[in-house]
Subunit: 210 residues, 2 copies
């Protein structure tokens, strides 16, 4: 009983640290984010931090790899619509969720602070490939379309579009860029009935905003 409470508190502490670190990484980047700044933001001691994370690098890796949990739990669609919803909600949450923003920022800047961690990309590829395998089973894909190939390409395209969008519009036009991607890509991968039926608009981005 007491052990259960302790464990729950440890999970909450870890979550608080992750959120505080994300906010600081999002604002100041990797090099500008000091452990002290993160502790102050979290209202916790160094002891609490080093119980959960070995170093600033370890904390950065955890933030980088927490991206999917900011979106996936909110999705309830299936197949290709789920994949589309994933990208639309990602575009929306990138404007408001520090954990996702910091995850994306650190993943993109990682080589400049000496990291080479492909897992944030690979995680997304696997989640998207799962949607596409489901789409395949539901008869939504054209013959010969490989879930893993499409998934890797969508991750690449999303990575680049948020960078382009950040410079052009501070990511304000990101959702339209996601919609454009699907307008161009769906006709080459989905059967005609699904191309016609899949919804690509901003109204699919329904995750809570905070």
């Amino acid at each position: 009983m007491a052990g259960g409470v302790k464990q729950e508190r440890a999970v909450q502490t870890r979550e608080s640290l992750l959120r505080a670190a994300a906010e600081v990484f999002d604002e100041f980047g990797y090099s500008g984010a000091s452990i002290n700044r993160i502790l102050k933001r979290a209202g916790l001691t160094a002891g609490a931090l080093y119980f959960h994370f070995d170093s600033k690098e370890d904390l950065a890796r955890a933030v980088m790899n927490s991206q999917p949990e900011t979106i996936v739990p909110w999705l309830d669609s299936r197949g290709l619509q789920r994949l589309v919803d994933l990208t639309l909600n990602w575009a929306r949450r990138l404007q408001v969720d520090p954990l996702l923003r910091a995850g994306v920022r650190l993943t993109n800047e990682q080589t400049s602070f000496g990291l080479q961690d492909a897992s944030p990309y690979e995680q997304w590829v696997e989640i998207m490939a799962e949607c596409l395998r489901d789409a395949h089973e539901r008869g939504e894909l054209q013959a010969g379309v490989e879930p893993g190939e499409v998934a890797a390409f969508v991750v690449e395209a999303c990575t680049g579009m948020q960078m382009f969008s950040a410079v052009v519009s501070g990511r304000k036009d990101l959702m339209e860029r996601v919609t454009r991607m699907w307008r161009l890509l769906l006709p080459g991968i989905a059967v005609p009935a699904i191309v016609a039926r899949t919804e690509l608009g901003a109204e699919r981005a329904l995750t809570p905003l905070d």
Copy 2:
């Protein structure tokens, strides 16, 4: 006559500075690249540098915006094949050309050193849209395909795929990623005869390697 020689020398000096700066930016990133290091690499004086460039930032902008000239002069195909060739040669040259590598690196990292310059992206979009307008006139595009839309999406996808590829393979698999993009994208934008005829392999990357 003497004026012509002087002008030619100035162009050469500017080119030497740009190449030296690119090498230093490519190796050390923006913050690690000092003016002194760049001058040493170029074998030139500060006077020569400040005649051509106002500051390190000005030099970085010039490198960022020099990407197309490392590829476009070598292309001789037309329409969609030209667009494909552009991306394949970009993938190859990114492995060997410091001017292109530094241009891409600085463009991607620019927000971390306080720049927000969309022109390197927009330049590529315009060059690609021109290929697509040519493709349209040659009857290579499906009805309703907008050159500017496709061009912007291809720039986004290429931006993201080189980042993903850098982390996974040090960009060794970049050419295959480019080929995959076209396998997925061409069926949705080109007429069937062009989908069948367009060459997507590494043998299209023919620009000189140094």
